[in-house]
C-alpha cells in the first residue's frame, strides 16, 4: 500500500550504473533488437522493440546522471517520468518481455538489453506497476514458501508417493550430504516424475543428497517482479539451509529462473560469495554421463528437437551439457537452426506465465507461433526441454493450437531409460 512513483525513481537511481549509461549512449535506433524479440516478430508491432521497453529508464538516466540532462531538467525542457507512463509501460516490461536475453545477443553496438530490463523492474516493482499475477506469486513465495502456496506437509506427502513408487529413500534435512536438492513448485505439483528421476539417478550414482524442509522451493518470484530485497528474502532460505546442513553442493532444478536466482543472482543478493557450489541438474547429469555412470538401457526412437530454456542456456551458461545428454537417450535428435544460445523463448519466462489477463494470454499465444513453426519445420512430434516453466507454457501453447506434439522433460527421460 506504499508503492509510489518517488520510490520507483529512487530505486532506478540506485540501480543505474556505468553499463546502463554506456548502453543508452550507444543505441543508434537501428531496430535490430526487434528482430530478435519474439513479441515483435510474431506481432509486427514496433512497440515491442526491446530498447523501446526501456524508454522511461533511459530518461531517468539522462535526467539524473548526465550534465546536459540535469540542465535540461532544471530549465524544464525534459519530459519527466509519470505514473501514467509507467502504467502504460507495465505491459511492455512484463507481459511482453520474458527476459530471454535474445536481444542482448544481437545488438550491434553490444547493448545488454535484458540486463537493463532486470534493473528497470526494480523501479516498476516499488512504484506499483506490476501485473497482479506476478505480485501474488511473489506474495505467496514470501509468505507461504512458494509461488503456488505449497507448504511442507504437502511436499512431504509428494515425497512419500515418490518413495513408494521408486522404493528408494528420499532423505530430508540430512546434514553433510553432498547435494542439497531444490525443487520448483511446478515440479512438485505437475511433474513429480522429476523427483523420482532425481532419486533414481542419485541412488544409481551413489551420491548422497538431501532435501531441506525449510528450503525446498528454488524459484524466486522476487527476481521476476524485480525486487532484489524480496528476492534476497527468498534466496536466503536456501543459503541458510545449505549452510546449516553443511552440504557441498546445491542442486538447482530444471526450472530456469530458479537456476538464475540461486546460481547467478544469489551471491549478489546476499552480498557475499557462497561457501558451496550451485550446480544445475543437467550439469550434474552430464558429469555423470562423462564418468560413465549414466548408462541407458534403451533409447527413444522418435525424432525430436530440443527447446533450450533461456535462463539455463543463453542466460545461465549451461551450454554444453544438454546436447550430449539428449543424444545419450534419443536416437533421432534433430538439431534445429536456432538452438542453444540462439533458441527462441517459449514466451512464458520472466514471470510472464504468471500473468493471466486476457491480453497477456492472447499475446503469449501469438508469440508461441515461433515455437510452433520450429516444430513444424523440423517435422517432429516430440520436443524435449528442461524447465518446468517452459513446459507449462509450451503445453498451453500446444492446447491453444491443438497440437499433438509430445513434450518431455530431459531429466525424467534420462531416468526412465536409465539402466537398472
Amino acid at each position: 500500500m506504499s508503492a509510489s512513483l518517488e520510490k520507483g525513481i529512487h530505486a532506478l537511481k540506485e540501480v543505474i550504473d556505468a553499463p546502463i549509461a554506456s548502453y543508452f549512449e550507444s543505441c543508434v535506433h537501428c531496430g535490430l533488437c526487434a528482430e530478435a524479440c519474439l513479441f515483435y516478430t510474431e506481432t509486427g508491432d514496433p512497440k515491442y522493440t526491446p530498447i523501446h521497453k526501456l524508454e522511461p529508464l533511459r530518461r531517468v538516466y539522462e535526467q539524473e546522471y548526465t550534465l546536459l540532462g540535469r540542465l535540461k531538467k532544471v530549465v524544464g525542457l525534459s519530459k519527466l517520468v509519470t505514473d501514467a507512463e509507467l502504467d502504460q509501460w507495465q505491459e511492455l516490461v512484463y507481459d511482453s518481455c520474458t527476459m530471454c536475453g535474445r536481444c542482448s545477443l544481437v545488438c550491434p553496438v553490444g547493448n545488454d538489453i535484458v540486463y537493463m530490463v532486470r534493473k528497470f523492474r526494480e523501479g516498476m516493482a516499488v512504484s506499483g506497476h506490476v501485473p497482479d499475477g506476478i505480485r501474488s506469486a511473489t506474495k505467496r513465495t514470501v509468505e507461504l514458501g512458494g509461488p503456488m502456496g505449497l507448504k511442507w506437509p504437502a511436499v512431504a506427502n509428494v515425497l512419500k508417493h515418490v518413495q513408494e513408487n521408486t522404493g528408494l529413500t528420499v532423505p530430508v534435512d540430512q546434514e553433510g550430504a553432498e547435494y542439497l536438492v531444490l525443487l520448483s513448485s511446478m515440479e512438485i505439483v505437475n511433474y513429480p516424475e522429476y523427483i523420482e528421476a532425481i532419486a533414481k539417478i542419485f541412488h544409481k550414482a551413489g551420491i548422497s543428497f538431501t532435501l531441506a524442509s525449510d528450503a525446498y522451493e528454488a524459484t524466486n518470484a522476487g527476481i521476476q517482479i524485480g525486487s532484489s530485497d524480496l528476492a534476497k528474502v527468498i534466496v536466503s532460505r536456501i543459503v541458510d539451509a545449505a549452510e546449516k546442513l553443511k552440504v557441498k553442493n546445491v542442486l538447482s532444478p530444471e526450472c530456469g529462473h530458479a537456476y538464475m536466482a540461486i546460481r547467478w543472482e544469489g551471491p549478489n543478493l546476499v552480498g557475499r560469495p557462497f561457501g558451496f557450489k550451485v550446480v544445475h541438474v543437467l550439469e550434474l547429469l552430464d558429469e555423470l554421463r562423462q564418468k560413465g555412470v549414466l548408462k541407458m538401457k534403451d533409447k527413444l526412437k522418435d525424432p525430436l528437437i530440443l527447446h533450450d530454456p533461456c535462463q539455463i542456456v543463453r542466460r545461465g551458461g549451461v551450454l554444453q551439457a544438454p546436447e550430449p545428454l539428449i543424444q545419450q537417450v534419443a536416437e533421432n535428435y534433430i538439431p534445429i537452426a536456432d538452438k542453444q544460445k540462439l533458441n527462441w523463448c517459449c514466451g512464458g519466462g520472466g514471470g510472464a506465465s504468471a500473468i493471466h489477463t486476457e491480453e497477456a494470454e492472447a499475446l503469449r499465444a501469438k508469440a508461441f507461433r515461433i515455437k510452433k513453426r520450429q516444430i513444424e519445420e523440423a517435422g517432429v512430434d516430440t520436443m524435449v526441454t528442461f524447465c518446468a516453466n517452459c513446459r507449462i507454457t509450451i503445453e498451453e501453447g500446444f492446447d491453444h493450437y491443438e497440437m499433438n506434439t509430445k513434450l518431455l522433460g530431459l531429466t525424467e527421460l534420462l531416468a526412465e531409460h536409465l539402466e537398472a
Binding site: A18, S26, V109, K277
Partner: protein
C-alpha cells in the same frame, strides 16, 4: 567575409574551436558515463573459451546467425557506409595530411578517383539507410529528431567533400570551406548525440561480453 577568409576561418579558428569542443565533449562524456561504476559480480565465475569482454568487442562486428537474413538492409547498408566513411576519412590524401598535421602520423593514400567512388557508394548506402528508416515501421517508430539530424550531419561532409572535388554547384574554394565547416559541425555534434556510439560501443560490447562471459556465455 569573402570565400578565402571563410576557408581560412574554417581551417584556422573554426577547426580549433571544433577540435576543442570535440575533445572537451569526448572526455567529459566518457568520464561521465564510465565513472558511474558497477557492482562486482560475487557469483563464482564459469570459464568458457571465447566468453569475455574483448571477444565480444570483436565478435559483435559480425551479424549473429540468422540476423543478416532478417534485416539485410541494416547490415549491408550499415557495413557499406561505415567502411566507406572509414576509407574516405582515413585513406583520402587530404585527410591523411590533416591527421599528420594534427597528430604527426601518416600513411599512404588511395587515388582520388577511388575516394570519389567510395564517396558515391557511401552516400548511396546512406540514402538507402535513410529510406529504410522511413519505410521500416520499427525504425520509423524509434526515430527521433536526433536520428534525422545526425544522419544529415554525417551525410553533409561526404556530400560537400565529393562536390568540392568534382567542382559541382559552387566554386572549389567555397565548397571546400563548406566541407570543412560541415566536418567541424560533425565534430561538435558527435560527443553530444548518438554519434557518440563510435566511442561507447566498445564499452558497451565489453560490458555485455564481460557480464555474460562471467556466466560462461560467449555473446
Amino acid at each position: 567575409m569573402n570565400e578565402l577568409q571563410f576557408l581560412t576561418w574554417t581551417r584556422g579558428p573554426g577547426l580549433d574551436i571544433a577540435v576543442g569542443i570535440f575533445l572537451l565533449g569526448v572526455l567529459w562524456r566518457l568520464i561521465e558515463i564510465y565513472t558511474l561504476g558497477r557492482k562486482k559480480d560475487l557469483a563464482a565465475p564459469r570459464h568458457t573459451a571465447g566468453a569475455s569482454g574483448l571477444h565480444t568487442v570483436f565478435r559483435r562486428s559480425l551479424p549473429p546467425p540468422g540476423m543478416l537474413k532478417r534485416s539485410p538492409v541494416s547490415y549491408i547498408g550499415g557495413y557499406i557506409f561505415h567502411i566507406g566513411l572509414a576509407i574516405i576519412v582515413f585513406l583520402g590524401a587530404p585527410h591523411i595530411l590533416l591527421i599528420k598535421n594534427l597528430v604527426g602520423l601518416s600513411w599512404p593514400a588511395l587515388p582520388s578517383q577511388f575516394i570519389g567512388l567510395a564517396a558515391v557508394v557511401t552516400m548511396a548506402a546512406m540514402v538507402v539507410m535513410l529510406a529504410d528508416r522511413i519505410n521500416k515501421p520499427v525504425k520509423r517508430f524509434l526515430s527521433t529528431f536526433e536520428d534525422w539530424f545526425t544522419w544529415a550531419v554525417t551525410f553533409l561532409p561526404v556530400l560537400t567533400g565529393w562536390m568540392a572535388t568534382q567542382h559541382l554547384l559552387l566554386p572549389y574554394t567555397q565548397m571546400l570551406a563548406l566541407h570543412i565547416l560541415s566536418a567541424e559541425i560533425l565534430l561538435v555534434v558527435l560527443p553530444f548525440s548518438k554519434l557518440f556510439h563510435g566511442f561507447t560501443l566498445f564499452g558497451s560490447r565489453w560490458y555485455n561480453g564481460r557480464v555474460n562471459g562471467h556466466k560462461g556465455v560467449p555473446v
